[in-house]
Structures are given as C-alpha cells and as structure tokens.
Amino acid sequence: MRAGTIAGHVWIPPWRTLGAQKRSQRKECLVIAVIIIIVILVLLGIIFAGMYNSLVSRRNQVDNAWSQIDVQLKRRHDLIPNLVEAVKDYMSYEQETLTKVTAARAAAINAGSQGPQAQAQAENMLTESLKSLFAVVENYPDLKANQNVLSLQEELTATENKISFARQFYNDSVLTFNNKIQMFPSNLIAGMFNFTTRQFFEAPEGDREVPKVDLR
C-alpha cells in the first residue's frame, strides 16, 4: 500500500512515529487485557448462571414428577374402597383377601409422610395385594360381567400404569438431577447453593409388569 489517503485520513508511515507508537501500543495492550478479562468474567458469569438455572429447573422437574406420583397414589387410595365395596357382596368367602387390601391401603396412606423409600415399600405391598384381589376376581363370572366392577378395574389398571409411568419419569428426572449435582463442573455450583441428591423411587424386581386386569 502506498502513502496517501485512506478513507480521508493521511497515512503516516510507521518509521516516523515509532516512539509515540510504542507508548500507545503499551496503553492499547493494557486496554485489551482489561477487556479480555472482563469478557472472560462475563462469560463465566453467564455459564455459572446457566448451570445454576438448569439445576433449578431439574430440581423443579423432580419435585413436579414426585407430585405426579403422589396424585396417582392418592387416586389409587380413593379408588380402592369403591372396589372393595363393589366386590364384597360377591366375595363373602374371600374376606381375607379383602382385609389384606384394606390393611395395605391403610399402611400405604400412613407411609405417605415417611419419605420415598418407606412409601415405595408400602405402595408395593398394596400393589401386590391388589394383584391377588384381581386374580380372585377372575374366578367369579358374575363379577367379571359387572359393569361397575369392570369400569373400576379399568380405572385401577390405568392408575397402576400411571403410577409406574410417573415413577419411571421421576426416576429419570432424579438420575439427570443427581448426575448434574455430582458431575464436574456443575457440582461446584451445586455445592455452593446446597443442591442435594434425591432418592430413587425403587420398584421391586419384576414389578415392571403391572397386574393384567383388562378382561377384553
């Protein structure tokens, strides 16, 4: 490039202004360094905020998933008395099965305030007792034809399914949340703001299969 005007400015060859340039260069370097540091700090802040926000949203997801399980468990607790009421006249010889279901229901309601582990255990007991009740229902043709019992069965099947899907979603959410809490670098933020890992809602072996009660 020749000496001349570039965009209206007079171009001064570098060898004529060496001293002044050195001084201004040092100044420029300082300014650039400060800018770089600020940019890095801002970026770090954004990354920190992002990690914090994602931790919060994961935690909310876990809480929400837990409340879903809760809703469905309550629904099951509400449905069971209706079912017992509907079948008990037909099943006078099966009092034992019915009392088991009623007792398991009471135990499950009590366990509601004792944390996921205890609750899971009690709810699994209830699931088992319901399974045996439905197995018994199979032996009573009158019951299998009863419209009321049929619709209660559909509702209970659906509720069982919803519980297990809610549990599945809860456990998936807990897994991602716990991973975030324990893995670098989000574990730093989690430690700073007191995020703690959550418990899984354990299912017993083989409980993936919900009781088959549809009589189609």
């Binding site: 997801q61 998933a65 879903q68 469905q72 619709s151 559909e154 509702e155 099947t157 659906a158 399914n161 919803k162 899907f165 809610a166 599945q168 979603f169 959410s173 993936r208 549809d214 189609r216």
Partner: protein, 344 residues
C-alpha cells in the same frame, strides 16, 4: 430430544418463510402471465405474499382444528372412552408433559391414528374406532406412545404446517392450471405482437412454476415424515418400555387392508401408518412414500424387544386378526416347534 425440538421449531419457521417466498414467486409469474407485464406480476406478488403470510398464521394457530375437521374426528371425554382417555393420560405422564392432549375419535373401521397441534400445550391425539376395537390395551398404548413422542418433540407443529401449507400450494397451483386450460387467458386485449410473445414466455414460466410448486412442496412432505416415524417409534418405546406392544399394533395395522376414507394427500403424512394404502408395502421407501416400510419398522421394534417375529402372534387375545390377514412376509407359519424367545 431438545435437539429435535429446536430443529422442529427452526424447520417450522423456515417452512413458513419458504412458502411465503414460493407463493410470492408463483404470484409474480401468474400475475405477469395473466394481467400482463411486471406491474401485474408485482401486484399479484403482493396479494399472494400477504395471503401466504395470513394463511401461515391461520395455519399456525388453528391448523389443528382444520386437520381434525378434515379427518372427521370428534372429541371424546373420559366418560365416553375411559380406556383410550386413560391410555393417553398414562403416556402424558410417562412423557412428563404438563397437560394431556385432547382426545379425538374418527368413526371409521380402518386402523390408524395421528397427533396434531402447535405445541404440547395445544395438542390433540386422534384414533380411529377400528383401532380402538381391534387392538388390545397394550397395543393402543404403543400407538398412543408413538403419537405422544410426536407431540413431545414438536413434530406435530411442523407436520401440521406442512399439511396446511402444502395443501394450499397444491390448491393455488391446481386452480391456476385449470384456469389456464379452460379460461384461455393467453390473448390479452390490445396487445401487440411483441407483447404476445413476452406474454407467451411468461405463461410458460407460470405453468412451469405452477407444476413445480406442488411437486417441491410434496417432496418436502415425503422427506420429512419418513425419518420422523422411525424416531417416534423409538421414543415411543422409551415411554412404554415395551417395544412389543407397538410392534404388534403395527403388525395389525399392516394386516388391515381398509384405507381411511377421511385421509387425503395433504394429511396422509400425519398418520402412524400410510392411511391411503394405495400400494403394496415394499421393502424400500420410494421417493413419494410418506411412510417407511411398515415391515421394517416392525423388524426394528422386534429387535429392540430381543424377540423373533413369532412374538407378534404369541400370547394375544385376538390372535386371529393378525394371523388371518396373513399378509406379512415376516410371519412364519405358527409352529409349535419354535419356542417363544424369552423377553429380555
């Protein structure tokens, strides 16, 4: 999944932009040919452009209503169809969606289902009566899970827009082609010789555009839906953790020869399986197929379940449906010598 959601959102915007540009070009060509000269072209360009933007917005906000109406679907409540409603709610919970989609039934004996809407908060799932009657609970669950994954990853938004916008392009182009053949607009009044020549050239361009536009739009539709079906099958299984349910459902759907009367070319890609049944199911998808070969989908699902094809008919209450249809080349004759593979 978040990647899919983002790409679907982006694709929806791109599609709307693409359609507005395409229709504006179409408007220019038609305007130049019919009204004559670039002024006429620009005039129609404006009209078409504004119409396309308006239609895109209508399609975005109430496309689901249109699709449901065209499909002859009516809304049902928990009291009407407790089982279907419950299955939809189950899958909503499994997918972790905030609220359950509206549930619709199409009163037809054919086996099919689709989902539509602009996002999970404004979604609908429609199922045919035949599907509800002929499939058991587990199979319906598989089908609904497939639809729910379309809902969850925003496939529904893009597919709905494709249906509405592609339908419109086809409509405009159709109208223009018919008009040009029967109306005979080639001779404009007061035109000189040179004007006639320019008009003829523009008319050819307009015709070409009018033919190309729907073709381009259709090929978009075909390309997008095939890969999405495989994806939705896989993420549906992620929800139910039961590949066999969906595999058996697809097997039943494949064995059912009835086409869905309410489906048309603009909505065909929404359904879980090709509702038109216009050709034999092939091993490889052709350029103009909206759906991947159903046998391939079943094979992939069976692989996920670690079972052989005999599991499709084993242990079902309505085994006769699939076995009697006997159209599935993968189905070996049921032989007692083959023990069912253990489910992993």
């Amino acid at each position: 999944m978040y990647e899919q959601i983002r790409s679907n959102r982006r694709a929806s915007w791109l599609l709307m932009g693409f359609v507005v540009v395409l229709l504006s070009a179409l408007g220019f060509a038609i305007g130049a040919a019919v009204i004559g000269g670039p002024r006429g072209g620009l005039g129609l360009l404006g009209v078409f452009g504004i119409a396309a933007i308006g239609w895109s917005l209508i399609g975005y906000y109430s496309g689901d209503k249109m699709v449901l109406a065209v499909s002859g679907a009516h809304r049902v409540t928990h009291e009407d169809e407790p089982q279907l409603f419950n299955v939809v709610e189950e899958m909503t919970i499994a997918a972790g969606l905030p609220n359950a989609p509206a549930v619709y039934v199409i009163e037809e004996p054919a086996l099919n289902a689709f989902a539509t809407g602009r996002d999970p908060q404004h979604a609908s799932v429609a199922v045919t009566r035949g599907l509800m009657q002929r499939l058991d609970r587990e199979e319906i669950q598989g089908v609904v899970a497939h639809e729910m994954s379309h809902v969850r990853n925003y496939d529904i938004r893009f597919a709905m827009l494709v249906g509405i916008l592609v339908g419109m392009i086809a409509l405009v182009a159709d109208f223009f082609l018919r008009f040009s053949f029967f109306g005979g607009f080639g001779r404009r009044r007061g035109g000189g010789n040179s004007n006639d020549q320019a008009g003829a050239i523009l008319m050819v361009v307009a015709l070409v555009l009018a033919i190309l536009a729907p073709l381009a739009a259709y090929s978009v539709q075909f390309a997008i839906s095939r890969r999405r079906e495989y994806l939705a099958d896989a993420s549906g299984v992620e929800l139910t953790r039961n590949p066999l349910g969906l595999a058996r459902a697809l097997n039943d759907i494949a064995g059912d020869p009835q086409p869905l009367r309410h489906a048309n070319r603009a909505t065909a890609h929404l359904y879980i399986a090709n509702p038109l049944k216009n050709k034999k199911d092939k091993e490889v998808a052709g350029v103009f197929d909206t759906h991947p070969p159903i046998q391939k989908r079943i094979a992939i699902l069976l692989e996920m379940a670690h079972v052989g094809p005999e599991a499709l008919v084993a242990g079902r209450r309505t085994a006769s449906v699939a076995a009697a249809a006997g159209t599935t080349p993968h189905d070996p004759p049921p032989s007692p010598a083959v023990p069912p593979a253990p489910r992993a």
